[in-house]
């Protein structure tokens, strides 16, 4: 008798609305090895682009800051830059500094969050605890400037809504020192740890050629040797005038992505410090009376990569079309290149390495497609990922 066995399918998802991309990964596995991956998204499509067409130009930043809780500075900034481009508005210099500071603080707290979760996934709970602890002072700084820890609602067409209180600047500069110090410690701890080298190097490699074909952006591209960064390539806010480096790595594996994010955090602290030191006086906004017909493009280097907004106006008070593209929309499909051939214990961290929506992975389960029986739960996969680390650790002891 011939027995045909369907290969088990491992569904990751569907989703939880934390970020703008709602994902459902379906991994086909052959024993321990992933042989195919399919992604579906939009389980919580909110129709942001269409809602935007019903709002006035000045209301849209509040809408797009809610595309993503973590990138709530990047999306409105990209939109505002698109409108400023089409209406030929130049915001005052102080506003450009304030935008730079907020967007870099956002990058710091987002990257720290990633490092903590990556640690959690591979069984490094100390890194997880450290990350959460050291992220708090960054959020405090954001709160001091905008009044909010997230969803800052600070950027508007023509400038910013809230100014930085000049009396707070010395205190904020002082608060940056321990942040930089702790990030250096965390970076060194990761770079010097032989177990992490063994656990993450060579895992989930995205080659340079695939990075270009899938048009990925941000740390995902830079860790694969594609040296692109909107802040340097098409400078906005004050990035063109400040001294900082674009971090790239050649390997394309999970370790390279971790290195890029950790070193970028240190660069971001450098940028915030310079911007606070050089902060000029003057107003933070110009008056905007009307938006003429036309079209404009705004893009911003968000923590996960390029956030791209396209706005078209017919001269009315609302956009006739507004397109928003978040970086994960192009980064996530690259799993097709980086996950196939990986062990299941490595997939968790490979999926996380791109920094997509984490809450998705909490609904992970392995199902035998034939019987619909759950083979593994989220906890099982987490345990497998950690056991892999433990096995490597034992080799070193």
């Amino acid at each position: 008798m011939k027995v045909t066995m369907q290969k088990p399918v491992l569904p990751v998802g569907p989703v939880h609305p934390l970020q703008e991309e709602m994902e459902y990964f379906q991994l086909t596995v052959d024993g321990e090895i992933v042989t195919d991956i399919d992604v579906r998204l939009s389980y919580n499509h909110r129709g942001i682009e269409q809602i935007s067409e019903t709002l006035q130009f000045d209301q849209v930043p509040f809408l797009v800051s809610r595309i993503c809780g973590i990138c709530s500075a990047s999306h409105p900034l990209a939109y505002v830059q698109a409108v400023e481009e089409l209406a030929q508005i130049t915001p005052p210099e102080r506003a450009l500094y304030v935008r730079t500071i907020i967007n870099e603080l956002e990058r710091i707290h987002s990257h720290i969050l990633w490092v903590g979760l990556a640690g959690h996934f591979i069984g490094y709970e100390t890194v997880f605890m450290w990350a959460w602890k050291y992220r708090e002072p960054v959020l405090d700084l954001l709160e001091a400037i905008t009044g909010n820890r997230n969803n800052y609602g600070n950027v508007k067409v023509g400038g910013c809504r809230e100014d930085i209180d000049p009396e707070l600047v010395p205190e904020m500069l002082k608060a940056l020192d321990p942040i930089a110090q702790k990030m250096e410690m965390l970076t060194k701890a990761v770079l010097d740890d032989p177990i992490l080298h063994a656990r993450l190097k060579g895992v989930g490699i995205l080659s340079k050629a695939d990075a270009i074909r899938y048009a990925v952006t941000g740390p995902t591209a830079r860790a694969s040797g594609v040296p692109i960064d909107v802040r340097r390539d098409d400078p906005y806010a004050m990035y063109g005038d400040l001294d900082w480096n674009v971090i790239t790595q050649e390997e394309g594996d999970v370790f390279a992505k971790a290195v890029v994010r950790l070193l970028e955090t240190l660069e971001a602290v450098k940028i915030v410090r310079q911007a606070l030191q050089q902060l000029p006086g003057g107003p933070v906004a110009v008056e905007v009376r009307e938006i003429p017909p036309g079209q404009g493009v705004g893009h911003v280097e968000a923590p996960r990569g390029e956030t791209f907004h396209y706005v078209r106006s017919d001269g009315g008070n609302r956009p006739v079309r507004h397109k928003a593209r978040a970086p994960s929309y192009v980064n996530v499909p690259s799993f097709k290149a980086s996950c196939i051939g990986q062990k299941m214990s490595d997939v968790m961290i490979t999926l996380a390495a791109v920094d997509p929506c984490y809450s998705c992975t909490e609904r992970i389960a392995v199902v035998d497609a034939r019987h619909g029986k759950v083979l593994y739960t989220y906890e099982d996969l987490l345990r497998r990922s950690r056991e892999e680390t433990e096995r490597i650790r034992e080799r070193f002891v």
Binding site: H45, T217, D233, H299, K323, P333
Partner: protein
Amino acid sequence: MNDQELRGHIETLSDRLTGLEQPLRTRYYLTCEAEQVYEICRFLFEDVRARFVIATVIDNDDNYEIVYHFAVDERGTVINVQAFLRDRDHPTVASITPFLPGAEWIEREMHDLMGIHFEGHPRLERLILADDWPDGVYPLRKGGAS
């Protein structure tokens, strides 16, 4: 590649274009008919080595318009290719996914929401809409899904 060389590259496309504007040093707006999209995008991706950013589909009442956004990061430049699909009953355009896998999702999204058919797409299945969404109803078209 400097700015002039980039402009030179783009000008070699002029036979295929109906318009070429450069309002800023770093922004190009090219207009063309739908039939030219495949060759223009292939040229930008393979010869100019531009990065595909995303595409925007717009319902212009008497036609559909797809704006393909490309970036030449080396020059910080964004090239927007505005293609017009004149046949409102059967809006069809060649898929660019066969040479540019990064376009797979957005073409499926435009197919879902605006009912554009992408010829040669390897897998023109639903991405955004639910599996039980009725066929032939496209939420982003003017007049909505009613």
